[in-house]
């Protein structure tokens, strides 16, 4: 009797473990199988890869922020921030540094471009607030860190996106992001959202959030809210398309990116 019970318990325990482990194994191997099955169909992309990184494949959405325009009209930046906050139902904690949620915000040059030399700064740079947002890196450390693929890069357009349904709130991505672009909902944000935009959800407590390059507006053929609000200070588009407006701006102007030495290759450029 006793012996049988032991045996039963052992078998039951082993099966339970196998049951828990099996889905993981299936998922991991199935993912590879899917990728392998898809590869031949995507022959174009594969061919481009063979020729090395010089030929960029697909769309890569990016932003060029012209600080000369914003320095001349600082109110444009405030307008852009307000537009972003309203469109995305971002809660307002009244400047409380602990809880604040920021998708697009402003900070000084030294704070934004920390690794640029600033022994002496021009008056324009000293007196102007710079916009800060998620850089939608080509090589995003947050995506690497996320243990559930709740944050991921959209292959279609290069946007680093979030799935708030899946985020477990471990905040590994916040530690991984070298740009401080991510915010965590330390409590239910809803009471702090002033007015709902009914075309976009809010977030729940316990998940991380950040700028999504207005994916939801792009899907409807609109520009990102900040781009629309700031009347030409920001150029938005596909930098892999040599004929796009943004490519022309990048060809013409000298631009800088935040912390280029980290190898993340940000998609937000500044003209100073």
């Amino acid at each position: 009797m006793d012996n049988q019970r032991r045996k039963f318990l052992k078998i039951a325990g082993a099966s339970a473990l196998a049951g828990i482990g099996a889905p993981t194994l299936v998922k991991l191997t199935a993912g590879d199988a899917l990728a392998a099955a898809k590869a031949p169909a995507d022959g174009h992309g594969a061919a481009a890869k063979d020729h090395g990184p010089e030929v960029p494949a697909g769309i890569r959405l990016a932003m060029v922020i012209d600080m000369r325009v914003i320095a001349a009209k600082p109110h444009l930046l405030d307008k852009a921030i307000t537009a972003c906050n309203e469109v995305h139902n971002i809660p307002d904690f009244g400047g409380d540094r602990k809880n604040e949620i920021k998708w697009l915000w402003k900070a000084s040059f030294e704070a934004v471009l920390t690794d640029k030399s600033y022994t002496r700064l021009s008056k324009m740079v000293q007196n102007t607030d710079f916009p800060v947002l998620c850089n939608h890196c080509e090589n995003p450390p947050c995506v690497r860190a996320c243990p559930t693929k709740a944050t991921f890069k959209l292959e279609k357009n290069g946007i680093v996106a979030m799935d708030y349904h899946r985020c477990i709130g471990c905040r590994f991505c916040m530690a991984a992001c070298p740009y401080g672009a991510r915010s965590f909902n330390w409590q239910d944000p809803r009471p702090f959202v002033k007015k709902y935009n009914n075309d976009f959800p809010t977030r729940m407590r316990g998940v991380v959030e950040k700028c999504n390059f207005c994916s939801e507006r792009l899907a409807l053929g609109q520009e990102p809210a900040c781009v629309e609000a700031c009347e030409g200070a920001i150029t938005f588009g596909d930098i892999n398309d040599p004929h796009s407006e943004i490519s022309k701006v990048l060809d013409k102007e000298f631009t800088i990116q935040r912390k280029p030495t980290l190898g993340t290759n940000p998609s937000v450029f500044y003209i100073v």
Binding site: T114, G180, L262
Partner: protein, 390 residues
């Protein structure tokens, strides 16, 4: 063998009730946090990991420290550790349980924790941490239980168990290596972005784990009539001295790289920890007294452990030194290491972190849970030893 936990002297029950009280406090605090959100803690947008993750990091080390008993005993056939190897394995179990509880306490959406398994992501270090932590927990339960059962029946343990015993050794190293990799693979966090983090973690683990085991065996000698043996303790002391010195050496190397190279990013966090960091006319130095206490405790305990009094068996000095070493290492890794990584933040602003009372309640509750489990496990181990002796 579980029935051994149900019989004990009044002191045993009072001790369990004492721990149970803190566990209850922890449960209430956690319920509050669960209902409100992690806003009940002192963490913020800038310092997004706090006491929970730092305790997790430290306790992974305590768990890995158990290998300093397993390795000499099973690989080098160092018989002296025979009596206490089980203490190392059971300490690892309790420490890993605490680690897992701290991770759960830290999640913003704890009910979704299984997403890590349902959506496995091999590019995330947390995925591997999940595997090695659970694997090490399983291995220690298995090895500890099978070997103790065999010991109780006074037969040789089955041969197959040695496969798992040997496997547990690389697992012990891997849990702390992978935990270090959570930190040292993040670009833009200069304090953590150092190849020396994993070895430093291992060095401090191999000092902290044995320090706790020596401390506990001194207690067991008094309250449970269980003697680890003088030779075993002396060998552990030697391991502790070398490991603690290595840890100090590694900290020294971090200082050298930061201050000699003069690269601001490498200096800032050290400056914040040990001297206070000035920013816009305000000096941020909350952790300075803690860090110097840590350094003094580490150096002081090494000096004490190296004195002849220890070898002659002065248990008071030995106990005090172990306590100091454990506390010093706890401050170093269980407070300073994690908090300072967020200072300054990626925009070179400074937000200091001060845990809230509720957060401390949860933290103490989890520690109490760990010691509760440890007490039960050690009760089993010691009772079996007594049974054999009878």
């Amino acid at each position: 063998m579980i029935e051994k936990t149900l019989k004990g002297k009044p002191a045993y029950w009072i001790w369990l009730a004492f721990l149970g009280m803190f566990m209850a406090v922890g449960a209430v605090c956690y319920a509050r946090q669960y209902l409100f959100g992690l806003g009940m803690t002192g963490m913020s947008r800038d310092v997004s990991w706090g006491l929970y993750i730092s305790q997790f990091t430290f306790l992974v080390g305590v768990a890995a420290g158990g290998v300093m008993l397993v390795l000499p005993y099973y690989i080098h056939n160092f018989k002296v550790f025979g009596r206490i190897t089980i203490l190392g394995e059971f300490l690892a179990i309790a420490a890993i349980v605490m680690c897992l509880l701290f991770i759960m306490a830290d999640l913003g959406q704890p009910l979704r924790a299984l997403n890590v398994v349902l959506h496995p992501t091999p590019n995330s270090m947390l995925f591997y941490d999940m595997i090695v932590l659970n694997g090490y927990l399983f291995l220690n339960i298995l090895c500890g239980w099978v070997i103790l059962t065999a010991e109780r029946k006074q037969v040789k343990p089955p041969k197959w168990i040695y496969f798992f015993v040997y496997l547990s050794i690389p697992f012990a190293v891997s849990i702390h290596t992978v935990t270090a990799m959570l930190y040292c693979g993040l670009p833009g966090r200069h304090f953590w972005l150092s190849a020396i983090i994993a070895p430093r973690f291992l060095a401090s683990a191999f000092a902290a784990g044995p320090a706790l085991i020596v401390l506990i065996s001194l207690i067991l000698k008094r309250v449970a009539n269980f003697d680890a043996g003088k030779e075993a303790v002396n060998k552990l002391v030697t391991i502790m001295i070398y490991s603690a010195m290595l840890n100090l050496f590694f900290i020294g190397l971090e200082f050298f790289v930061g201050y000699y190279s003069g690269v601001p990013g490498h200096k800032h966090a050290l400056q914040y920890l040990f001297f206070g960091l000035e920013h816009h006319g305000h000096v941020y130095n909350n952790l300075v007294p803690f860090m110097w206490t840590s350094i003094i405790f580490m150096i002081g305990s090494i000096a004490m452990l190296a004195t002849p009094a220890i070898r002659k068996g002065n248990e008071f000095i030995l106990g005090l030194a172990c306590l100091m070493l454990f506390t010093g290492l706890w401050i170093d890794k269980g407070l300073g290491f994690v908090f300072a990584g967020f200072i300054p933040n990626p925009l070179h602003e400074i937000t200091e972190y001060i845990p809230t009372a509720n957060e401390l309640g949860v933290t103490i509750g989890i520690w109490a849970t760990g010691f509760f489990i440890l007490t039960l496990l050690y009760k089993i181990a010691v009772s079996v030893e007594h049974e054999i002796e009878e």
